[in-house]
Subunit: 145 residues, 2 copies
DNA sequence: CAAATAAAAGACAATTTTATCTTAAATGTT
DNA sequence: AACATTTAAGATAAAATTGTCTTTTATTTG
């Protein structure tokens, strides 16, 4: 709706990886997709994207899996995940679908849309994986239902 | 990105119909899709939806076309179009894709997402077709580029 | 080194969204 | 009444997104 399905899974997966890395555990695709209730093979693809974009880190072989360096948890923002998976149309696209959002030749919704989009953008660039994982840790939030 | 393509076309079409109805002109699908730069047959389908939902009015036959009663221009809000075409997942869906947004068992993004969503929702329910058409009328905004 | 494990990569399949085309129904004009 | 015009409806088609399956590559362990 706001994000693609791939992006939703990507965020949930990244948050779960963060939570587990906080405990020093590396996690595999099977566990991840189980815990965030997502299609496993599709989730694997998405984790690959996150890895290629250096948002999380992967290790092959026995006892391998995905992890995120605790040092990076705070600097890893939602905006990075969204950009890696959905691209930046959410930041640069016109709300009414004109080629590009352009203040010189704005669509009728431009001003109002820009407002919303800036809110969203600010939220995404200021929210870290660490922040999201901590709510989970204390049982206040959920990644599946 | 935020709205489906169908919804984008729907809003642009509705605004164009409003603009023309302001001048007392009824407009056909061909002219509409020309003026908003959208695929014609697809646009026709979308206009059907808007008509079925009583957002605009259609007249068949020679000199027929689409129009909106000037009395309705102010009460016709963007939220109606979005709801008619994209449904209400934009209002009730969870940002991270959990079955439904639910404050009792919130996803990690719930609070922040709700904020954005409320902004968006308020914007959509308070913006009328009339308001959007007037900007166009005076040449400040555009429906195609 | 061989075997087992786990991610990476690539081909393929299903579903949804976007888009087109054809026929039918309604309405005004001659 | 016949005809032209224009929306409505329904059947298809194309493209994009979502999802699966198989093979390859890297790494650990015995
Ligand atoms: S031009 Fe449409 S949102 Fe800026
Ligand atoms: S539960 Fe996810 S947005 Fe409310």
């Amino acid at each position: 709706m706001m994000f693609s399905k791939a992006c939703e899974y990507g965020i949930r997966a990244a948050v779960y990886v963060t939570l587990q890395s906080l405990e020093g555990r590396r996690v595999g695709v099977n566990e991840i997709s189980e815990e965030i209730d997502s299609p496993i093979a599709f989730t694997a693809k998405i984790l690959q994207q996150l890895t290629r974009n250096n948002i999380i880190h992967s290790v092959k072989g026995p006892n391998g899996g995905f992890e995120i360096d605790p040092e990076d948890m705070n600097s890893a923002k939602l905006s990075m995940i969204v950009k890696a998976i959905d691209g930046d149309k959410i930041y640069t696209g016109c709300g009414l679908g004109l080629k590009e959002c352009n203040a010189q030749k704005p669509c009728p919704l431009h001003d109002k849309f820009l407002d919303i989009r800036n809110n969203l953008s600010t939220m995404l660039t200021s929210t870290s994986l660490y922040e999201l994982a901590t709510g989970l840790e204390v049982g206040l939030t959920y990644l599946k239902r």
